[in-house]
Amino acid sequence: MMGTSFSRLKGLSSLSGGGLLGPAATVIYLLFIGLPVLALLIRAAQQESFFTGLLGGMALTALRLSLITSGISMIIILLVGTPFAYLLARNTSWMLRIVDSLIELPIVLPPVVAGVAMLMAFGRQGVLGPFLEALGIGLPFTTGAVVFAQIFVAAPFYIRSAKLGFQSVARDYEDISQTLGISPWKTFWRLTIPLAAPSVLTGFALAWARALSEFGATIMFAGNLMGTTQTMPLAIMTAMESSLDIALALSVLLLAGSVTILIGLGMASRPKWQNRL
């Protein structure tokens, strides 16, 4: 890791003709990002009761809840987001282009605002509140609300990336596939999905990472109830008030998850044919 960054630095200085601004900025930035990460690991290692914290009830409960809710969120995002992304990639009507530009609103919207907005929609005093209450459904402060919040903030990452993936597959390929006797549905699975796979997988990983780290919308809309709505990020915040062990253990766990996703993205590097499309 360090080796590569140093060789990069050399490359940088030779490129900038001996100017020091670029390399200096790079070092400062790397320290800025690297130090806290490193500090987290060092402090966690110093902690005597690190594993007790990790195996404690609160941490495990939060971990299980995070995995279950983000798993459900990702299944829903895949099922709804994939056909939606495909439609956006193929249809160029002006209405869909407007929809397309609104897709990314949740990415720029502060998550806390998203939480408030969801309360205003599905909460007891929300727009749909009386209707849901009549059906006997109380969404806020349930595990369902956690899933809602995660989908709201994470789905755009998947849809945006999958859409770009589908766009990279020229329609002529699908046309040819159909003239070869393959139905549109089978063409999608045998041709479009494999060809768009790198972008679809990237979108999936980014969305999942976003769902796992979701905090603001969750605490607003779902609250912070252990075992029901207290996902890992919420558990970390709660633990910070009482036990640093648990907070550190959970943080290291999330860090490990993030690094795994990052490595996974790098490993699933673009196949050779990507630029032949």
Binding site: D172, I176, L195, W273
Partner: protein
């Protein structure tokens, strides 16, 4: 037995297309026309990728589209082989997987032997495990053809299939396509704007322009000596001469006409309707003459049967593979095609005095049906 026939009317934006076709098995119908004439739309309508407003498409005795009967078989049920200009080989599959893509029992022994048969037939054996981008242009073209043939198509739709290949490779692949049609006699509709290709591959030709068939028939007649002004320009007739009829000679079947200080003997304007309807208005005519039909001579040839012998000065010499195009000023500029060998033997150079010799029957009358449209200026 007619194997592929039909007609379609399509409307794409403001463009309207109206074509019909009739192709016997193993025969090639060339759809010849400029870009934007509706050639590709025709192919896509037959394949089912474009929905016509009206029409009827019959493939191998099966009606796959009939607007009046409400029949419209989806693309994947039509059994047509469609080859695009860029081939569109599937990049995530190797050559074998590409060829086998449309086979229903991929991986089974029967499918494997079919892929092997096609590979041999199209000289792709040994390349089966290659990635598609490792192939040459000609090989890619063959893989696309093999992939289409594997699904046992009832008709082949070829959209400028040789456009991105060099001239030598084109000739090879044309021969191969011909050989393939002997082995698997399928009706072929081939789209091109290349004259040489149309002449080399077409059993018959339909000239399409602005969404309409403007002429059809035997390629050498239709494109070699086109009778219509628009077709003559599309087919690149090098000499189109505006002349006035001076005298008719019905016994010989010729007439003499003049223009720009030169006199030509050309075939008699035989179409009776024209003479009956408006004998006076036909005095102005357009004479077409292929540059390859002109013989250049250093002196006036004596004792020749060629009726036209014109003296002129060399105005320009241009390289035009496979030879040279010499423009001779005979009062009107006349373009003649000569080989490199003839060039050096005659020592042709600008300002030289030469004789142009050609038969009366090399000249053909071109009917200017409508005022030339704006884009005709691009053609000589």
């Amino acid at each position: 037995m007619p194997v592929a026939e039909g007609w379609v009317k399509c409307r794409v934006g403001g463009f309207s297309l109206e074509v019909d076709w009739h192709i016997e098995e193993g025969k090639v119908l060339v759809l010849f026309g400029p870009s934007g004439a509706g050639k590709t739309t025709t192919l896509r309508a037959i394949a089912g990728l474009v929905r016509p407003e009206e029409g009827r498409v019959e493939l191998g005795g099966r009606v796959v589209y009939d607007s009046s009967a409400g029949v419209s078989v989806p693309v994947h049920g039509r059994q047509v082989g469609y080859l695009t200009q860029q081939y569109h080989l599937f990049p995530h599959l190797n050559v074998r997987e590409n060829i086998a893509y449309g086979l229903s029992q991929r991986g089974q022994p029967k499918a494997r032997s079919e892929v092997d048969r096609l590979s041999r037939m199209l000289r792709l054996d040994g390349l089966e495990d290659r990635r598609t981008w490792e192939l040459s242009g000609g090989q890619q073209q063959r893989v696309a053809l093999a992939r289409a043939l594997a699904t046992n198509p009832q008709m082949l739709l070829l959209d400028e299939p040789f456009a991105s290949l060099d001239a030598e490779l084109r000739r090879v692949l044309r021969r191969e396509l011909r050989a393939m049609l002997v082995e698997s006699p399928i009706p072929v509709l081939l789209v091109t704007h290349d004259l040489e290709e149309a002449l080399a591959l077409g059993d018959s030709v339909q000239v399409i322009d602005g969404g309409r068939i403007v002429d059809q028939g035997e390629p050498l007649r239709i494109l070699g000596q086109p009778g219509r002004g628009r077709v003559a320009r599309l087919a690149g007739v090098e000499n189109l001469l505006s002349m006035t009829v001076e005298s008719r000679n019905p016994q010989d079947g010729t007439m003499v006409c003049g223009g720009g200080g030169m006199k030509l003997e050309v075939p008699l304007d035989a179409a009776p309707s024209r003479q009956d309807d408006a004998p006076d208005q036909m005095e102005n005519i357009l004479v077409g003459l292929r540059s390859s039909d002109i013989i250049l001579a250093l002196e006036e040839p004596k004792g020749t049967s060629a009726r036209n012998r014109l003296a002129g000065t060399v105005a320009s010499v241009e390289l035009r593979p496979p030879g040279y195009e010499v423009t001779l000023d005979c009062g009107i500029p006349l373009k003649a095609q000569v080989t490199g060998a003839a060039m050096s033997e005659l020592g042709i150079k600008p300002e030289q005095n030469l004789w142009a010799v050609f038969k009366a029957s090399s000249c053909f009358l071109v009917q200017e049906e409508t005022p030339p449209s704006r884009d005709t200026g691009a053609f000589p």
